[in-house]
Point group: C4
Chain length 369, copies 4
């Protein structure tokens, strides 16, 4: 690979440092993991071990390269320590170093390559909404932990009880508390492999109780997560929307109280260019405000451009709810969606907004006569 | 089958184009699928293969016929492309073409007929509340996807780990990562067939963690769906009701704010004719407004008809909560149900409504003296 | 058994007609079912078949007797048809007739007696909160049904696919679609017996998808029920409380709006006589209003009786939150519980209430000086 | 161990009476349980039975000692009966007496020591949020019980049906109703060991229904718990916060209504000393009020101390949302966290607060110029 081309790649990779994965990384990861899987399928491996090894080496090379470039890039910006401690920094390091280290330590190659499964960790920093999940887990950690503690206690008590009841009857499966623990976990999670099963009446009674508490633990767990999640969703949506709302002139007039009110009703939507938002003839049950970007409305004969702060789709909410024209984004746009439900509540609470929209709607109706 | 009768059937089928399934289609589908199942039960098939084949051919014929008619019908209305791309258009096409194609391609008949299971897809466009489910899945897709990604990562990491730990001990089951993957999915979904089970202590430890994360994934999933669903239900109910409320003269007087308020409290209910809504002597905890249709109240001696905009059952909410008369629909009717709970809140907020209802109640009480 | 004593029992049983189960019925049911179970355990039966048969006959006799008495009682009150169609009427009939009929028809006795398991159905009409569950299932039936339809479609499609993929490899387990259906249900519900397991790679891939959709179906199901249940609980609580609140003079002063408001905050609690409500020295985080009944407060030296409309426990919400005295019910009482949380909100919204309570609190403080 | 050192330990233990576990107790518990587990692993036990026994005796000694000390301590404070009946008092007693009693009664030692698993119960009183879980279970007990009753009825009916259908075909597994009951529980909880599986077509049909109702029961259970949990969380959070809010001078000005309002928005957070709350350069989406304790703000050049009643982090909510300085606790502190979301709603509702914060923010901005 010639010097310039490398530096080009380098610059490209550097740009993505700390950000989510690059396409190249996705390709390398997928290829790498798939090949690693093949590696473990003997026939496949015998047939094509040269290829398999080749691909793996190339992927590894890429990840090492990526890591080095990012290190240099960050070092250049005095953000090296920050990067090294960031989640993406850590997974980059693991992806680049795990296998070489294993090989150096002298692990048998085919085993060492198994570590390439760690490359999937590179996806983590980029998972959408992971932050949200983490927040829920953190906020609800108290109750979740207590459920976990209860879970472990049930497991421990049940397994000792079963050991006591069963180990004479089936010494090979319930021969020690550890094996009983295995049974307890398999049972309480309602997995039920069936490799270890109590046979004594009393043992089965206890097993039944364990299964039922399994449902209970489960229910609590879900209940807690559901609760936390509901709260988190509201919060997230609000934050994302507030910024945008306050930038839409249409709402600027409103006082902060009303804005808080409006924000609770709107939903932000980010769209690429050339996306059809409204299809003529469809049922319409929401209107849109343009926070940024631009859309084109195909009216009979002419095409109208609507820019930031404009709104459209209101016709559907005023009387005739069949869309009258196609609307498409012309640039990357952020829209605020107002559902019919909330539209009505909003109009009811803020008559001034209602008038503005009505007036505009009438104007357009006339225009398109 | 004579020409006219065909055209009759054709007209009938055409009318249903794009709409949900016709009764005929339901019959054909059920018969077809059941017979296809018999087809695979050797004794049954040997006993009656003539019949089996016969029924299948008839069903197929019907679906082809239905499809052709609809195509002509749509073509007649210049809605052909729309129909072809609509979900119902696609399932119609599949239902009509899949088997013939398979037979043409030269698939062994008994295998080809298995495709008649695809006829069940014809139910999809008509599933009640499917739209609602889809909306939830779309709106919550972000978090749901991240849970899915986490799910897959756990599966992958766990299976490689188990492969590494178990493949020497039980080469036939954990002999390759793919087989380990099978184990991981079976375990993480807490299905637990027990055909593949780790035996090494470390392997079991990891398996235990996988099961527990299984519960976690599960909980998150449910939590997300529950949240989305709650929001969606509110929204749907509101939309369905708003239309109706604004058409009830009784509420017309109210301003939009109050209507939004009322709408949150009412629930729409569609009833066929000759359905008993209130049974004399029952406990009553809601009143009804007639949005459309008509009901008959059986009073001692006479029978009173109530038409659109009228309300009944209010007695139960004012003092004596035992129903005083039978009320039955005389036509297909849409009613608005107001629960006792909300009745009280509503009356508290809108004294004028309270008066109207009281007055009417008194009038009736006198009348029936 | 002497004539009078029978008529006594008869009168007693009659009194309970249509109501929940009598103690006697509970005893008969438990005894009957337990004995029926023993009946099926050969050694136990051989050992004591005389007893077993005896007990069963006695239980049956009781249920027949109960049924006859209730029939006469209801006939006496012209409510016979109503009773026969009521759920409790039906289960009474089943409990009384099923076994005799079976024996008459000539079913082998030991098999006929198995029907005594139907006696457990007598519990149904009395299950607390069953009405609530039913309401949820009814209100949410739409979405629940569509989930069920999806469930069945997945099962059908998956089983045909598996049959196609597996029936050559394992003809004994996947030999026909019905057996494949069995597999599909066992898998989609994540039960996973492991008696039927796909072995082909493709078959396992599909199985994996089925399991994952299993989680999805599950999640939807729970989400829907959770949503419906939340709504139902609010509603129930409100209804139960409203009646009571409006009967407490303390709140009578408030207008309907405020009552609706208060009702949302209170929780009703029914207590038997001689129950300790507050234990001295405990942490207190709620106050109580007496809707009906009477309580006794143990003050140093004397004991004070509080009757309907009085309130207590307010001290804990005003400053010192350690209970200052034991409070016990002297009669069966219905109390309204106001949580600290809501107490504060309520006091904030209705200063007049706040004053009344403060005044009373001060008065008592002085008194007990 | 010398007399004084004992009394030292005694004083230390006494101090913790009734409170959660001491570190020492945690160590003893963990050591004890782990050793008990080893006890059941024959090879491990043969290798080191002296050690195993030794450790167990020491742990037991500790728990007995702890219990005695606490008894004396409580007796000294006239709170002995209270302690004996408290949950922690009961688990202390069990932990101290169970094993000795077993040994006295003459149970074989290795079996008696299994009782040391009961030591884990000592964790119960200290589980965070257990109180909360209990409250949910109590408040929702009605519906939960009815679900349980339904669960049991399904189990009973299903098992009798399966016994009837299967006991001729597979007498060894479905030979009696008890064994069928075992099958039913294993199936309804979707555990599915696979040790007992129906084979007759009808038997499998019923099994399928049981599995599906399993999902239903599950869903109801979770739905109920989720509902109860959501309510409980709100309540808890409110209580915890209210105390603190009313002690923050900044809010003291507000009337009770506003405080109730504010309380709904704030979240309390307890931090140890020397914890970094805000890291310079981070994204900020909340501000903090100091309820108690003290924090240090690292400004360029100087370091500012903020004490009780002060607030910080507001800059991030006014315009620039990147943290401008590190903030660290200098003492154990309780903070009130106000999320961006609520900050805005709050400011909108209470302009006076907005002004105070703005003014302070400006002052600081100038100062740090």
């Amino acid at each position: 690979m010639s010097k310039p081309s490398i530096s080009v790649l380098a610059r490209f990779v550097a740009a993505t440092a700390g950000r989510n994965m690059t396409r190249a990384a996705y390709v390398a990861m997928t290829a790498g993991v798939v090949t690693m899987v093949l590696l473990t399928v003997n026939p496949a491996y015998e047939a094509a071990h040269r290829w398999v090894d080749g691909v793996l080496w190339v992927c590894l090379a890429y990840f090492v390269f990526e890591w080095v470039v990012r290190l240099r890039h960050m070092a250049g910006q005095q953000r090296l320590p920050l990067y090294l401690l960031s989640s993406s920094g850590i997974v980059d390091a693991i992806g680049a170093l795990a296998i070489p280290l294993a090989l150096v330590v002298g692990v048998e190659p085919r085993t060492a390559w198994l570590l390439s499964v760690l490359w999937v960790l590179k996806v983590v920093p980029g998972i959408p909404g992971l932050r949200q999940l983490r927040r829920v887990l953190v906020l609800e950690s108290g109750p979740l932990l207590s459920v976990l503690v209860i879970f472990l206690m049930v497991v421990l008590l049940a397994s000792v009880a079963e050991y006591f009841l069963e180990h004479d009857v089936q010494p090979q499966t319930f021969g020690s508390v550890p094996s009983a623990l295995w049974w307890a976990v398999v049972t309480l999670t309602t997995t039920g492999y069936g490799d270890v099963v109590p046979v004594t009446p009393l043992g089965r009674l206890i097993a039944g109780l364990v299964m039922i508490s399994g449902l209970g633990v489960f229910g609590l767990w879900t209940g807690i997560l559901a609760t936390g999640f509901a709260a988190e969703t509201r919060r997230d949506n609000f934050l994302k929307t507030w910024e945008t709302v306050s930038n839409v002139p249409f709402f600027a007039a409103l006082g902060p109280a009303a804005i808080a009110d409006v924000t609770h009703m709107l939903r932000t939507m980010d769209l690429p260019a050339r996306t059809m938002i409204i299809r003529k003839g469809q049922q319409g049950d929401c209107m849109y405000f343009i926070a940024s970007g631009e859309v084109a409305v195909d009216l009979p004969g002419k095409q109208v451009q609507l820019g930031e702060g404009a709104f459209f789709g209101e016709m559907a909410l005023l009387g005739n709810n069949v869309r009258g024209a196609n609307v498409t984004t012309t640039k990357v746009s952020r829209l605020l969606v107002l559902d019919l439900v909330d539209f009505r509540v909003l109009m009811a609470r803020h008559p001034d907004l209602a008038e503005t929209i009505d007036a505009e709607a009438k104007r357009r109706a006339l225009e398109n006569k």
